[in-house]
């Protein structure tokens, strides 16, 4: 899944200008098409995973390479520069997403806030959110209790694809250009943020607030290291180590909670 996200990201940045240059749809149409493609790619991953029982990691990794390859094919590996559109085609204004402000705050930050809130509400207040956690906790039990596992999973992967597409759009808009390798290493950042935020890789645990804080940690770490002039290779080393460390701490905590719960049980008995 990590992989797919980066792949889509690249895909999105690329598909978008392609459409803009050849078919010239309106800017809003371009945004919609891009998001739809991202969502569809996510849904495809989800479908392959549920229908054919492919390991999620393999399916999404495959999707990453497919998407990355397509991204390169779209313009033979070259960048789509200068995505400002032309007034006579009515496709201007794309750069506003990345550069424009609303109430002195950049649109991308508004989007982050909205998406976080929406995700929080979905996971905590809706039956769908309960189903997601249930599947994460014990897929078989969830299925036996009437959760439509396959459908829920496909929706979940679609959401992931949608978010990836949105990020692709934001980046392409900020750069006013789309390069096939834009999304390289983004999957690493995203998974680091998720793991740091306390989402259990063993499933069934995690929340959106934690992920947001995790994203802040990774963002600050990234930019701080760049500002300190640390080599990008060392940055990779550090980020990889942070991910592993976060998982180790997660496991330690899980074991400790188990022990405490056991102790409490014994005391009550």
């Amino acid at each position: 899944m990590i992989a797919m996200i980066a792949g889509l990201l690249i895909n999105e940045g690329i598909i978008l200008p392609q459409l803009g240059i050849i078919i010239y749809p309106h800017t809003w149409t371009i945004l919609l098409i891009s998001l739809a493609v991202g969502t569809l790619a996510g849904a495809t991953s989800g479908y392959i995973i549920t229908r054919f029982n492919v390991a999620p990691f393999i399916a999404t990794l495959g999707m990453l390479y497919v998407a990355r390859g397509i991204a390169g094919l779209l313009n033979n590996g070259y960048t789509f520069p200068n995505l400002v559109g032309r007034p006579e085609y009515g496709n201007t204004g794309f750069e506003i997403l990345g550069a424009g402000n609303f109430l002195a705050v950049n649109y991308s930050i508004w989007l982050m806030i909205i998406i976080t809130l929406a995700a929080h509400i979905i996971t905590t207040r809706t039956p769908f959110g309960r189903h997601v956690y249930a599947i994460g906790g014990n897929e078989r039990a969830a299925g036996l209790s009437g959760v439509r596992v396959a459908r829920t999973k496909i929706i979940v992967y679609s959401i992931s694809g949608f978010c990836a597409a949105l990020v692709g759009l934001i980046i392409a808009s900020q750069l006013v250009a789309a390069h096939p390798l834009t999304g390289d290493s983004f999957e690493l950042n995203a998974i680091a943020a998720v793991v740091l935020g306390g989402t259990s890789l063993a499933g069934g645990r995690g929340n959106m607030g934690g992920t947001l804080i995790g994203a802040f940690v990774i963002g600050v770490l990234n930019d701080g290291l760049v500002m300190m002039g640390v080599s990008s290779f060392w940055q990779q080393v550090i980020k990889g180590a942070v991910i592993v460390l976060a998982v180790v701490i997660d496991q330690v905590q899980a074991r400790m909670q188990e022990r405490i719960a056991l102790q409490k049980q014994q005391e009550i008995l």
Binding site: A150, T152, A193, G203, A215, F216, M256
Partner: protein, 91 residues
């Protein structure tokens, strides 16, 4: 928690005293936040431009990109990743 404490005096005492385990658990639970504070503090000390408003604005833009991706991924990670070995049993 409080309900249990009322029914069991032994536990009530335990709940009042802050043990080492409690502190450790608190630190572990808030580890993301602690990491954020630590990382920010370190970079703020090492680089004078780090806490300027211009830099914070730029950083929050980068954070937004990571955050949206990560939120999409949070949905995906809880369910299917590691639970898949059991899937062939029933699917």
């Amino acid at each position: 928690m409080s309900h249990e404490n009322n029914t069991n005096p032994a536990q009530m005492n335990k709940g009042r005293r802050i043990t080492k385990i409690d502190v450790l658990q608190f630190l572990l639970r808030g580890r993301a936040f602690i990491a954020l504070i630590l990382v920010t503090a370190v970079f703020a000390l090492l680089s004078p431009q780090f806490l300027t408003s211009a830099n914070l604005v730029i950083m929050s833009k980068h954070v937004a990109i990571n955050a949206i991706l990560a939120i999409g991924m949070t949905f995906v990670i809880p369910p299917p990743v590691l639970t898949s070995p059991s899937a062939p049993l029933w699917a």
